[in-house]
């Protein structure tokens, strides 16, 4: 896995501006987690300081240094979704997956997170699983959707 990370990162040697792109591209390979090994590999391959990798990575909501699962479910919690019962939906999803927000299912398949506005305010409540967006989410719809990721 680290070899693949190195391959992606070494294509952007000295290109500090490509760091976010590299972090995005390595995420799916690294179980969505920036471990110290992954961070070091990126820094060495891009020939940039390790501190810069952490500096940038810890700023953006997309990245995490905490262990996460294979698929990330992000449920929008911003205003329009909030007014359309996103909190209740979150509780139902927590119950269905048997985890709390921020946790990962025991099989390592799903991490449940909330996120800020997904830009799907006209079809709220909304969520995004990895790169797939879903609007007008209900618990029944959710149950069907996650079947696709199992």
């Amino acid at each position: 896995m680290l070899l693949e990370v190195e391959k992606i990162a070494s294509a952007y040697k000295g290109r500090n501006d490509m760091l976010i792109k590299v972090l995005r591209e390595v995420q799916p390979l690294t179980n969505n987690t920036l471990t110290p090994e992954v961070a070091k590999t990126i820094a060495n391959a891009m020939e940039i300081p390790l501190t810069q990798v952490y500096d940038t990575a810890t700023f953006y909501a997309l990245f995490s240094t905490e262990p996460r699962g294979k698929h990330i479910i992000r449920l929008c919690r911003s205003a329009s979704c909030h007014l359309n019962k996103a909190k209740e939906l979150l509780q139902q999803i927590e119950k269905k997956l048997n985890i709390k927000v921020g946790q990962t299912t025991t099989d390592g398949l799903f991490t449940l997170e909330t996120c800020e506005c997904l830009g799907l305010c006209d079809v709220s409540p909304s969520m995004i699983i990895d790169d797939d967006v879903y609007g007008n989410v209900t618990i029944n719809k959710f149950k069907k959707i996650i079947g696709k990721y199992r």
Partner: protein
């Protein structure tokens, strides 16, 4: 009431295909612009009265002229597609419906300002738009609208997509520039403004997606045509995102100056059995007004004169089943999460505002907490580095001003009496 669709005027069956777009009159504005003097392009845009559609409402012609006047070996155009204001998804709809109009707008800005390179800063939350835009750019390149010597003219211009990684503050233009440079999206001190020192220290023009989509219309039809829409001081149409508790949520285009109560009626009102309680205008950084204030024209100047905000055109309807304090808590949690932390008023202020709102939520607030909210808000608005901290207290301040009972009702509990 009917929509006035000049931007969302879909002419293509396949919005991605440049050829089909050209067959239906697309890229005429670029063909015109390559024959024009940059100064004349800026004059037409200035005369049109077009103001930025991202939220700040800055005159667009003036902004282009700043970059035009700055001498540099390299200049940049950035399309701000980091649409992160909760309650706004108009830019997504523009890209889904008429993506080439935004590309046209960027090319024309390039010609007018002397920039040869453009970036679209796209939020990561729009992966479907990334796919559309990649194809749109390829299609435009194939047809000769992007690349070297576009349409055989002396102008070079090409566009790259840059995808963000989840940060509301990157909608602020200097934070956005930092992000393209691969750094944390923290706002810069201004001046220097991006028009003088922007991306990699070079003059940079940053415009919102909707602003750019207006530009080919103005070049094609002239500034006086554009003035037939909207108000005297703010011409054109606006894409309004109707959302929250409304029967027909969606993005709709109306002339600027449309009445809020007409938008409400157009959206079909609140769900059956409920009553409208309040509306938040311009996103969560905008003003909260009560249901009896909706007889108001939606234009930046009228709204500003009443202490209200136009912002990004978001219209969030809130019905009487909602607890306003609960909503304010949600809004302040948002700003606490999204503050970049660079300046103290915003980093600390949002946390303190949230703490006080939570006192109202659990009925431990006292009457003087309302004054503290107002004092702290005013400090943040005056001293925060960028628009985030300057506007994050707006919801609280306007809610106190327009719906004070929301707060006073919560301090009539035993804590206050005791």
């Amino acid at each position: 009431m009917q929509e006035t669709r000049i931007i969302l005027n879909k002419v293509n069956n396949n919005p991605i295909c440049a050829k089909e777009y050209v067959e239906n009159g697309g890229y005429e504005a670029v063909k015109k612009a390559v024959q024009m003097n940059p100064k004349d392009i800026i004059d037409i845009i200035t005369d049109s009265g077009l103001r930025g559609r991202g939220g700040a409402g800055f005159p667009v012609g003036l902004k282009i002229s700043f970059v035009y006047k700055t001498n540099s070996d390299q200049k940049y155009i950035i399309c701000n597609a980091d649409e992160g204001e909760p309650g706004t998804n108009k830019d997504r709809v523009i890209f889904e419906t008429v993506p080439h109009s935004v590309i046209e707008g960027m090319i024309i800005c390039g010609i007018a300002s002397g920039a040869t390179k453009g970036y679209i800063y796209l939020r990561w939350e729009y992966p479907q738009i990334y796919d559309i835009l990649t194809k749109v750019l390829d299609s435009a390149r194939e047809s000769g609208f992007l690349g070297e010597k576009i349409l055989g003219s002396e102008y070079d211009f090409d566009i790259e997509i840059y995808v963000g990684a989840g940060a509301y503050v990157c909608g602020e233009e200097t934070a956005l520039i930092e992000s393209i440079e691969g750094k944390r999206g923290e706002a810069r001190f201004k001046p220097p403004f991006p028009g003088v020192e922007g991306l990699w220290g070079k003059p940079t023009l940053v415009n919102n997606v909707e602003t750019l989509a207006n530009i080919p219309l103005i070049i094609n039809n002239g500034s006086s045509w554009f003035h037939q829409f909207g108000t005297e001081k703010c011409s054109g149409t606006k894409l309004f995102t109707l959302c929250g508790n409304i029967n027909k949520p969606g993005v709709y285009e109306f002339p600027i100056g449309v009445k809020l109560q007409d938008l409400y009626a157009f959206g079909g009102g609140v769900p059956k059995g409920r009553k409208l309680q309040a509306v938040q205008l311009g996103g969560v950084s905008g003003s909260i007004i009560s249901a009896d204030q909706i007889n108001v024209e939606m234009d930046p100047d009228t709204l500003a004169s009443k202490g209200m905000t136009f912002g990004s055109g978001s219209v969030l309807f809130i019905d009487d089943s909602q607890d306003m304090i609960d909503l304010l808590e949600n809004i302040m949690e948002f700003f606490l999460h999204e503050s970049c932390g660079k300046c103290t008023p915003c980093r600390e202020g949002n946390l303190r505002l949230l703490e006080i709102i939570r006192k109202f939520k659990n009925n431990t607030a006292r009457l003087e907490d309302i004054d503290t909210l107002m004092d702290l808000s005013s400090t943040m608005m005056c001293t925060s580095l960028c628009g985030l901290g300057q506007s994050s207290p707006t919801a609280i301040v306007t809610c106190i001003r327009n719906m004070k009972e929301v707060f006073t009702n919560r301090i009539k509990g035993e804590q206050y009496c005791g």
